[in-house]
C-alpha cells in the first residue's frame, strides 16, 4: 500500500473518531435542536421542534378556551389553560416565547377566575405570571392591567356586600395596578422608539 493512501486513511480515522468522541461527550441530554453539533459550547436556545410543539399546544389550548367561553363555560376554559400551565415545557434554558406565552396564559386565567368571583386565586395566578415576565414588555404590562381589572371586580363585589372600606381599598389598589401597567407600556414604547420617541 502506498504511503500517501495509508496516511490518508489514518487521518480519516483519527478525524472521524475524534469528532464522534468529542460530540458524544458534550451535552448528553441532547436538548439542542436538530442540526446543531452538541459539542459547541455556550449554546443558547434556538427555534426547535420542542419549542414549536409547546407553541402548538398553547395555540390549541387558547382556541379551546375560546370555544368554552363562547359556550359560557368559564370553568372549562380555566381547566384547559391550567393544563397548559402545568403541562410539560421545553427543557431549560427557557425560551422567551415560552415565558411570554405562559405569562399571557396566567393573565387570561386570572381574568376568567375573577369573573367567577375567585379573586384570591386570580391574584395568585397574576403573581405567578409576573414571576415569569420580569422584563418590561407588553406581556408584563398586561399582567398589571389584568390585576387592575381583578381588583376592580373585587371592589365591586365588596361594595355589593356592603364592605365600603374594603371596596375603597381594592379600588385604590386597582388604580395603582393600572398606573403600573401604563408605566410599563410607556417604557416599552419609549424603548422601541428610541430617541425619536422623546
Amino acid at each position: 500500500m502506498r504511503r500517501g493512501t495509508l496516511a490518508l486513511l489514518l487521518a480519516l480515522a483519527a478525524a472521524g473518531c475524534g469528532q464522534v468522541h468529542g460530540c458524544a461527550q458534550a451535552n448528553p441530554g441532547d436538548s439542542q435542536p436538530a442540526g446543531l453539533c452538541p459539542c459547541e459550547p455556550g449554546s443558547a436556545p434556538v427555534v426547535d421542534p420542542k419549542l414549536m410543539a409547546f407553541l402548538s399546544k398553547a395555540r390549541s389550548a387558547h382556541h379551546e378556551a375560546d370555544l368554552a367561553e363562547q359556550a359560557d363555560d368559564r370553568a372549562r376554559a380555566i381547566d384547559v389553560l391550567q393544563r397548559l400551565i402545568e403541562g410539560p415545557r421545553p427543557p431549560p434554558p427557557s425560551a422567551p416565547e415560552v415565558i411570554e406565552v405562559l405569562a399571557d396564559t396566567y393573565a387570561r386565567i386570572a381574568d376568567l377566575r375573577s369573573a367567577l368571583g375567585e379573586f384570591d386565586r386570580a391574584g395568585r395566578d397574576l403573581d405567578e405570571g409576573l414571576k415569569l415576565a420580569v422584563t418590561p414588555t407588553h406581556f408584563r404590562g398586561h399582567l398589571f392591567e389584568v390585576r387592575g381589572l381583578v381588583l376592580e371586580r373585587t371592589a365591586k363585589a365588596l361594595a355589593e356586600k356592603g364592605d365600603a372600606p374594603g371596596a375603597e381599598k381594592a379600588k385604590q389598589a386597582a388604580i395603582q395596578a393600572f398606573q403600573q401597567a401604563i408605566e410599563i407600556q410607556d417604557e416599552v414604547i419609549t424603548r422601541a422608539l428610541g430617541d425619536g420617541g422623546m
Binding site: A13, C17, A34, G35, A44, V47, L55, V101, L149
Partner: protein
Amino acid sequence: MKGDRKLRLVPGEGQPEATAWPDDEAPITEAERLEAERTREALERGDEPVSSSLRAAHHPPRLPEDDHEALLARALGDPLAKPTRAEEAPAAELRDALDRPRPARDAVEGHELVELARTLQAAWKPAVLPPLHNEALIAKALARGKRRRTGEIAGVVAGVLALAAVIALSLGRGPDRPVGVAQASLIQARSTMDLFDVSQPFPRQGGESSRIDRIASARSADLRANRYTSWGVR
C-alpha cells in the same frame, strides 16, 4: 464513439421509415445496441431518469395525501414519520431480493443495497472456507516478504479504523443532525414583542388566541428555516 448515444431522425406518421444507414456513420456496435435496448426497456418501465425528470417537470403527478403528511411530519421532526411510497418501493425490492435464495440473489444485478447487505452478511457470518483453499492462502501469505506484510497489516488496520469512524459517524448522527452546522446560523428563540405593534398595548381583555396564533405562525417559519439550514439547503 463507444458508449455515446446516437440520435437519428425518425420519419413522422405516414412517412416511409428510412432504413438506409447514413454513409458517414460508423455501424452500430454491439455495446451500443445493448445500451439502446436497456434505455428502451427503462423508458417502458418508466424509470429512465432523464425522461422521468422531463415528464415530472412537464406534468407533475399529484402528491398522495399520505406522502404529504409523512413529509410534513418528518420536516417537523417526528422520528416515527411513515415512509413515503417512493421509499417503500426500493425497501420492498431489497426485502424481496434478500429473501431469495443465494444463487437467485446473486443474479440480481445493479442493486447497490443488495451488494451492501451481502458484504455485511459476509463480514458478520462468513461462509466456511474450504480447508485446501485456506492452506493455499496461508502459504501464499507466508511466502511474501516481511516488509510487504507489515505494510499490508498497517493498511488493513488503518482501513478498519477509517471504516469504523465512518460507521460511528453515520450511527452517531440522525438524519437531521449533520455535523458542523454552527449554532450561530440557526434562528434563536427570542422575545415575541417584535411580532406586535409596540405602540399599541394589548387590549385589556381578550386577544390571547390571536396573539398565540401570530407567535406560532412566526416560529413555525423560523423552525422551517432552521431545518433547511441544518440540511444545508439555502
